[in-house]
Symmetry: C2
Subunit: 400 residues, 2 copies
Amino acid sequence: MAVKYARRMDLFKKSELGEILKLIEKPDIISFAGGLPASELFPVEEMKKVAVKVLDENGEEALQYSGSQGYLPLRIHIANRMNAKSKTNVKAENILITSGSQQALDYAGNIFLDEGDIVLCESPSYLGALNAFKNYQPKVMEVSMDKEGMIIEELEKILKENDRIKFIYVIPDFQNPTGITWSLERRKKFMEVINKYEMPVIEDNPYGELRYEGEFLPSLKSFDTKGLVIYLGTFSKIFCPGYRLGWTCASPEILRKFITCKENSDLQTSTIGQRELSKYIDDYDLDEHVEKIKATYKKRRDLMLNCMKEEFPEGVSFTHPDGGLFTWVRLPETLNAQELMGKCVKNNVAYVPGGFFFPSGNKENYFRLNYSSCKEDKIVEGIKRLGKVLNESVSETAEV
Amino acid sequence: MAVKYARRMDLFKKSELGEILKLIEKPDIISFAGGLPASELFPVEEMKKVAVKVLDENGEEALQYSGSQGYLPLRIHIANRMNAKSKTNVKAENILITSGSQQALDYAGNIFLDEGDIVLCESPSYLGALNAFKNYQPKVMEVSMDKEGMIIEELEKILKENDRIKFIYVIPDFQNPTGITWSLERRKKFMEVINKYEMPVIEDNPYGELRYEGEFLPSLKSFDTKGLVIYLGTFSKIFCPGYRLGWTCASPEILRKFITCKENSDLQTSTIGQRELSKYIDDYDLDEHVEKIKATYKKRRDLMLNCMKEEFPEGVSFTHPDGGLFTWVRLPETLNAQELMGKCVKNNVAYVPGGFFFPSGNKENYFRLNYSSCKEDKIVEGIKRLGKVLNESVSETAEV
């Protein structure tokens, strides 16, 4: 005998992205690869006061086990914020606190997917979600996007032709990786199709509050009349990620299954972390804090887009995100963003090659850039370096 | 179409234990059902100082994302403590920080179990582990125990006769639910069999440091020459559970798979929680704190055992745990602990019926009592109430 693993572990034997991320761990590299929020904006001083207050007022409870669904005052805050911002009509009882929204992605796989079932997602889509689902061995089918979101005709054709689709995973606001935001019209049409097919939807909304221009758009959840939309939120981008605090909002029947997952997988999210965040929302103005984040990120987005316009060669295009953390760059089809990484590393600049965001692979002429976590001088210098690599590569291809 | 779940969710449709636990949510009930540590012993004042210090010294890093494997200084502390206490020889690189050890139980299922694979466990075993494994649809086979631990002849017979066994789950120190501790001799024999069959073992050790009498015994991991033992530890019982901080210690190959699970399931455990615990171990004496916990729990254990001797009728026996949180009560076979719960609730006292700890069911004449979380006067009064119920029930059965 020897140690034998479950078959699903074969799918995670090597991580090509992991190899690339190791390459860029050089101190001189300016990396646009991550998705980190700007740590200089974290409310450090406030959290010192909050930590002391929580331990002063309820120290024993804050350090003890607590219920799997999560701390009720925090769930009330979340429901109130969602109803105010996402135009939903939900209650604290619809909310489960999770360890970031990543944990809810894993639970979604666990709840819905038998081996060989189908998940639909935007093309491209968030890598972390695709990896979470992969563990449950589904087939992932991509639905094409245009500037207004998922293409509804293609979605409906796929829904008609496949009977093992279990859910649709989407990020309608400032999508990762593209930065695209679904239009109001598209949201409504999407929900019509969803209601017709009674198909569960995971609406992942980590960046929705970070809008720098244009009009606020209501969440898919706000159009959900049949309890089909499972809304995932997180405090990682509007507060800070270090506490690992996210949430799932769903109909009672579906949320009950998420709570079961929580009970079995780690019992509960940190009691003290939940209480500290809840106290922070009590004592400070989270909306005001979000405004501060938005002002900084907008400046960085504008700067990055302007630098790209200046530095990038003709034939390279990119999205103009109205919010969120990312822009998505399209290269001429003759170029391969993964192959270009070698040159980038030599020039001390990095991105995430776009191929990783396409479950079916094959599209290598894209990459993702993050602008939230780099200070302004780094953005200018980094885009300059990247421009140099792209200019050289485009003219080399032209010569061949 | 309608919402369709994965088949595994059928296994979690109703929770009989959940129903019972709801019954005992009355304010007047003295409950021995939980497994909570005593919150009056939590280092509340110390953690206030620690929280401020962590945010003063490294506020931005403490609130940011961090590596999936966990905070290195904390992993160094853990490796040092394990080597000192469990006689192992492990390094920080062998350690993954998890959200309590419950999360590692879930990962073990994910890593090893295809549907229909076999898990071996002690009979009875920890309910939370059984539920975590159940999600992966294995067959769970029980191996009988005596006072010295798992019965090796029975284990070897099962290993010989079954080729789909993926791992063995055991709690050799102050087992949950029985309070039994494996003898040194039994540990050695067990590891001989493990090495012969090259069978992975999950050694779950949440209570090992809480020994109130008798000699310290080395962990199974300390006898592990082939990298087969996956050791799970937690700070929930020696520090506090509210931060949700546990760890997995395994060989590099196996640990790599646990880290992959962490990446996919929730990225990482709370950065700030890990840093606070690590700073607490830097600045305070965790061993001294554990001594304080032990002194309190020993007193409660002694009191509970003495009360039980006085109050319980003949024919009812119970274990004498050398440490940990639980004692295990055996009733005459004519009595059913689950059926007795009605009478208990009427008399305002509660336990966990033992049947839930036997994966194959059928053994209903046991129950588990916790002594760590009840203050002394409650123990005296609660055992008196329980004695009354048991005396009445034994004499009723005798009359029939």
